[in-house]
Amino acid sequence: MTEGFRTLEELAEAYLDGDLRRDEALAFERELAGRPPAAAALIAAVALRDLLASLPPPAPPPGLAERIAGSLPLRRPRPASEASRPSPVRAALAGLGWTFRGAALAALGTAGPAASASTGMAQLRWALGPLGAPPEPVPGSRRPLWRRALFRKGAK
């Protein structure tokens, strides 16, 4: 029965931990009834555990937790003066606006270069200005400006 546990003290500790097999535990309980040293070992094991658990804990000095919390880099609530700054959500939406404008310009570009200098300038102003509806093409010749410049009537 005492295989692996050399002394009664070790057996008693293993018994309290529930580390004995069923047959070992039953044999130890029989020993408890018949052998005073086994009972004494068990009582001492229980007493040690009680003693360990009953030691009063050392209390932290007053104010230690507050000092520690004060030293952590915690976020402070935002003062009212900062409340008007753009929030991360607004900044992200503005970024999306620019992305949309980039895509819209690319779509306009698929129809070919700006039909005229005034259309091109209007597109540029829209791209750089506040968000709004894209500019309507300025009515004029359907021929692109570069074609008109290169192939003017009468030019050779």
């Binding site: 293993a14 050392p58 230690l64």
Partner: protein, 190 residues
């Protein structure tokens, strides 16, 4: 809901969001555990205060690594346990190198334990003296198991020591303590 009554899971969620009140509550709730472990492993109240500060700073920096489905106490205990071990190793290294300042950091084996100073009871005093003669790691294991009330599995999680080794070391430490405290334990049991 008052912060004191927050569950650990809710407290962890608040801390993960960087909520300042949540962090204050975490510090208030767990400073006693960290400080106690520091006193018992380092055997110095000043060192225990320093290590408490270090532990919460480390936790603040690495809170994303915490698994919020697990209880907080073993995670806090693990951070504290390893911080104490690092200090003990650093002090031992400096002592080997002959650094005179290290002598102040290494607890004097003959010095009175800060806990002993606060206790008058014969049994408690003898037990603390006997605990002081154990290696710091064994003291921490017994402490987490019997005084902080963690299970063997939680002690294993807190220290990173396999559960089988935790059980064996606690077992051997108890047997050593019993050898030293034989007369007292006989009386306690009667």
């Amino acid at each position: 809901m008052p912060l004191e009554s927050l569950s650990e899971a809710e407290l962890a969620r608040r801390c993960r969001r960087g909520d300042a009140d949540g962090w204050r509550e975490l510090v208030v709730r767990f400073t006693p555990l960290v400080y106690r472990l520091g006193v018992r492993m380092l055997r110095s109240e000043a060192e225990a205060e320093d290590v408490s500060q270090e532990v919460f700073l480390r936790m603040h920096r690495s809170f994303d690594a915490y698994d919020s489905t697990r209880p907080l106490a073993p995670w806090v205990a693990r951070t504290a346990y390893h911080a104490c071990l690092r200090r003990l190793e650093g002090a031992a290294r400096r002592e080997r190198a002959g650094d005179p300042e290290s002598l102040a950091a290494v607890p004097d084996a003959g010095a009175r334990d800060p806990e002993q100073a606060a206790l008058g009871g014969e049994a408690s005093t003898l037990l603390l003296r006997a605990l002081g003669d154990l290696p710091a790691q064994d003291r921490a294991l017994l402490d987490l198991r019997y005084r902080e009330g963690l299970s063997d599995a939680e002690v294993s999680e807190a220290t990173g020591i396999p559960i089988g080794t935790v059980k064996t070391r606690i077992f051997r430490a108890r047997v050593r303590l019993r050898g030293w405290l034989e007369p007292i334990l006989g009386r306690q049991g009667t």
